[in-house]
Amino acid sequence: MSTKPAVTGFYEMPPTRDPRGLTPLRITADVANRAIADAGLEKGQIDGLLTGQTMGDGFTMLWPTVVVDYLGLDVRYMNTVENGGGSSTGMLWRACAAIEAGMCDHVLCVVGDVWDSKTLSFNPPPFPKVAREFDEPYGLVGATPGYAMLTRRHMHEFGTKPEQLAKIAVDQRKNAMANPTALYGNKAIEIEDVLNSRVICDPVHLLEVVSPCTGGGAFVVSRGDYAERGPNPPVRLLGAAEAGGNRSIIYATHAPKYTTSMVKRAADELFKKTGLSRSDMDFAQIYDCYTVVVLMTIEDAGFCVKGQSGAFAEDHDLTFAGDFPLNTHGGQLSFGQPGLGGGMTQVMEAIRQLMGRGEARQVKNATKGYVANGGIVGQHCGLILAN
């Protein structure tokens, strides 16, 4: 019998464009209590907390303290995991590590965030001062121009085509149409629709840009002995690998290997230490703030030859029923990006698939999955999960 910690329950709020009446704490409390119940636990049994930062509360100090207080928890372990898009996969392995270190028995991992386009679009929490000093005076503000420059260079070095980038958005939309909670699941899109959508920062089109929204998710990681008798099939962590370090501020301006992402080093380590092959993965849930991030993650994680991810996207059916099921919830591009909890959507979907709760979009016989979180130019955390 496995004694390794495992995910025992989860809950994800359907994302919404309407932030009225919602705060990060309200969402956090709601998804947390539902995830605890899903794991078959009482709130008093939760003795660890990992949480993410929020834009909706303004990136404030002492956030874990506030969350623990708001929820009425008494914990033996708590922290914020703030690695940008790499935060939620980062929570999962940190929860397992804390349990294995004997710090606690049941760790609640939770993110809830509110995006109010009327205020936050023009007044987001500030980036570090070095970014404001060296990037922002030239208009490199926010993520889109940074990823547009990465897209351009990838096209230049590898011949990646706009149609190949667009295929990511198209197939993920097909997945969203099988997910009733996805924000953009109502209307199919074709490659021409992506390429005809408004250019935001050339060569990136509107339908290749993630759409911020309000939402959140939570999961519980429990000691292995409890996981074996809990109400859900335990979802086990087979391995995790994290990477940072690009000699840059945020958008890898100075990275020696600009078009090889943080994923490369972490994924090589991840597959080596788990002894698993890329072909063992039944699905991949890959952080997708922009289409180029998905392509680069596919190639840097070793699912194809470096530089060939464009052709890979063209040659494979990336839907939940296809030969490379990718972002089966629709990805953040079509599901929505709940503030700083975007990566949580990929973790939620991986857990859901491995618990067999994927409903209309269930990947048949899914036993192992790859989860990649992070905007890849500055930080990344990848996991292999199994049931």
Partner: protein
């Protein structure tokens, strides 16, 4: 109506010599005297070897466009009237890369690998930005 002004650098003790060099229209870069690495952005310790001794070396201001984007939509409200404009990463001859803009050039004419040279844009009495134009 909120008044949006463009973000401006707020120099630190580490970076002041860089901004001073731009103000003098004579770009200098930080160089580690221990391992000879050029460093940008400027820091208190060399990110390559950890040393804390530097010199400031005047450079040509020539380089090539490493990559770029044409902002069709303003990336910040203060840049609203500028769109479309070109944001670029320029690789200087010394090997370091800087975030900047390519100016004096139609956005559609910018290419990866295009030779460029620095243009000093005096924003106010304190701050000069290093922008780039196609090399003569």
């Amino acid at each position: 109506m909120v008044d949006f002004s463009k973000p401006l650098p707020n120099p630190t003790p580490d970076s002041q010599p860089y901004w001073d060099s731009l103000k003098a229209h004579r770009m200098s870069l930080q160089k580690c005297t221990a391992c000879s690495s050029f460093i940008h952005y400027p820091r208190s310790r060399c990110p390559e070897c950890g040393a804390d001794a530097f010199e400031w070396v005047p450079v040509s201001g020539r380089g090539t466009v490493y990559t770029y984007t044409i902002a069709r939509m303003p990336t910040h409200p203060a840049f609203g009237k500028d769109a479309p404009y070109t944001i670029a990463i320029v690789e200087l001859e010394e090997g370091v890369r800087v975030t900047s803009n390519v100016i004096d050039c139609a956005p559609e004419a910018v290419k990866v690998g295009m030779p460029v040279e620095v243009v000093y844009e005096d924003v106010n009495d304190e701050i000069t930005l290093a922008k780039f134009k196609p090399a003569a």
